[in-house]
Symmetry: C2
Subunit: 370 residues, 2 copies
């Protein structure tokens, strides 16, 4: 019987509350499926780790993450460790992404249930059927290129700069992940690559490598290119046009994935995965990461922390992604997603969606469905 | 009697069609106001200039623009001069912006008439009252920083990079423009500065300089800071929260201004200004640019060019901005805006808004109102 080690990073604010419901769901899967054994262990990460250890990513947490089969995370940060603080939770997150080599961030934006169409800020006739997966390069570009802070250089005392840099292999590997995920669907998804090739050299490299990789290695896939400014318009004006896979670099992905996550009406519903490891041979549609962090896309929402009213669904769906991507366990992953949809179809809603159900109640109902 | 020289750059696609209606409006103002004399002259720019002169910005056009009091532009580009072409219209645009020092791009996103609320892709209750002005730094950052194309360096043969660089004076001057525009409204507008200060050094400089400039020079103004990813969410989920001035750097401004321009339902309705010249003393609310390009925000729409159905309102409202900002002629500027609103209130619509009126008909009606 395969046994998997999952490191759990509850984090700050509502993190521990949403995590505890997802942990219940994973434990239900583990005890009810004789062929699956999941070992869960929690570690300090983020603001709470700054408070306890003076470091958002203590060495013991990093080591546990490196040894884990997969990582489930809540949310980190809060005003206590705000912009002016010397040590910030975000630094730990960026360091962890880089240390684990998590270059592929995967964020679906779709409706867990059609009963949620009305929750969208965009008109229902425009968003019905929206089904996008943003695949964002996560450890390159402006985030990790060389930079110079204001005041750091005697020759340029009044400037600051960052570098958007990409190499051919970096773009190849994220393109292959996008292709693998496109091929896993039936029929395969269309790929929309986003760049600013009319201005940026890094985007011209991006466009060239995406085109060559897809044309040579995945001739069966359809793809096109959009400029980031017009993609930002399309996501609001006609989002179905970008159905399929949205493939883009780190900063554009940060912006566009957040923008598209507003479509389903509540950030509380959406999961994400950040993966490491080269996909195997280009012809096999499967993609087995060597490491992965799974987390809801929402923040730590300190204003509602401790009240038991946070929506745990984004975290629960992240646990489903974990089973699917890191362990290849499609059946229980699908079972969790179906259970979530069924519960939402009954009309139960947490506060973010105008309802009154608490985190625990949603957890109960989903566990019962399973 | 002050006489003003306006250079007109009709450009490509629907450019000449929308320009000709705006020119009629300006000529009406000029002939009906004894105290205003406008001299208009047309020059080649964009794709048509590539075809005729092999250069999107021929020296004669550049010189005319440098000598003009203001510039009115249509739209440039088209598939004929696409991504793979050696000489591209966009290069001319970037060169013109830089040559004229047009560092301040100003793009309002609001409803020219409440009768258009239903045209928005976002629900009317969320967009009613949306009134944002995006002020984008236009000749700095990633657009004009040092870059290296793929293949250009023997040491780094497989990489390409661009630099996002800002200096203190660059951020000061655009902040002062934003403050001037905020102060010109009664009550003054709130300023929302957008950056990615949790990751980028250039954004940390941006945030520091914006904060210091506004605090020291404009203590009467209210302002806050948003991260670009969360601003991209807000513009869709709750756009009124960003009412007022959105102040941001070049690339973020490119993305966010396009994104917010979708709110009013048709790109055909929205004007823009790109301005040069330091505002005078910080205490005077007026801002008199030394040079300015005024243009609709839509593209050249080659698919509908030559049919006389393009919406000329964005260009006509750009002409109003020209009178206001470059010449300080508030009265005729306001008159044009009022005429546009009245015409829209009667329900007449061009095709982009689901109607049947042609460009000429809209021009007629607005001229008649004047
Ligand atoms: C916290 C921040 C550094 C991070 C990012 O920009 O990557 C966040 O916005 C995200 O998208 O995970
Ligand atoms: C054409 C392109 C270079 C330009 C830009 O990115 O600045 C355009 O998108 C704009 O916003 O005016």
């Amino acid at each position: 019987m395969p046994s998997y080690r999952i490191v759990v990073l509850p984090g700050d604010g509502i993190g521990p509350e949403v995590i505890s419901q997802a942990v219940r769901v994973l434990e239900t899967i583990s005890t009810s499926s004789p062929e699956i054994s999941l070992q869960l262990e929690s570690h300090d990460f983020g603001g709470c780790a700054i408070d306890k250890h003076g470091d958002p990513l203590p060495p013991s947490t990093l080591q546990a993450c490196q040894e884990a089969d997969a990582i489930l995370m809540g949310s980190i940060g809060g005003p206590k460790w705000g912009v002016d603080a010397k040590i910030r939770p975000e630094a730990g997150l960026l360091k962890l992404r880089k240390a684990l080599g998590l270059y592929a961030n995967i964020r679906p934006a779709n409706f867990a249930s059609d009963s949620l169409l009305d929750a969208s800020p965009i008109k229902p006739e425009l968003v019905k059927g929206v089904d996008m997966i943003v695949i964002r390069e996560l450890i390159g570009g402006l985030y990790f290129g060389a930079r110079q802070e204001l005041g750091a250089s005697a020759e340029q005392p009044d400037t600051a700069w960052d570098t958007m840099i990409y190499s051919i292999p970096e773009v190849q590997r994220i393109t292959r992940v996008a292709a693998r995920i496109a091929l896993a669907a039936n029929p395969p998804l269309e790929i929309h690559s986003i760049d600013k090739a009319n201005v940026l050299a890094a985007s011209r490299l991006w466009r060239k490598v995406v085109t060559e990789t897809l044309t040579n290695e995945f001739p069966q896939l359809k793809f096109d290119h959009h400029l980031v400014d017009s993609a930002a318009m399309l996501i609001v004006a006609n989002p179905r046009k970008l159905n399929g896979v949205i493939l883009t670099e780190n900063l554009f992905g940060d912006i566009l994935s957040d923008q598209s996550s507003v479509i389903p009406g509540s950030l509380g519903l959406l999961p994400s995965a950040s993966l490491a490891g080269a996909p195997s041979a280009p012809s096999t549609p499967d993609f087995k990461p060597t490491s992965g962090i799974y987390e809801p896309i929402h923040g730590s929402a300190p204003d509602i922390a401790g009240q038991g009213i946070a929506n745990p669904i984004g975290t629960i769906l992240s646990a489903a992604m974990l089973l699917r991507y890191s362990f290849g366990l499609e059946k229980p992953a699908k079972a969790i997603e179906d259970a979530v949809r069924k519960v939402l179809d009954t009309g139960v809603r947490t506060k973010d969606l105008g309802g009154e159900a608490g985190s625990e109640e949603i957890g109960d109902l989903i566990v019962k469905e399973l």
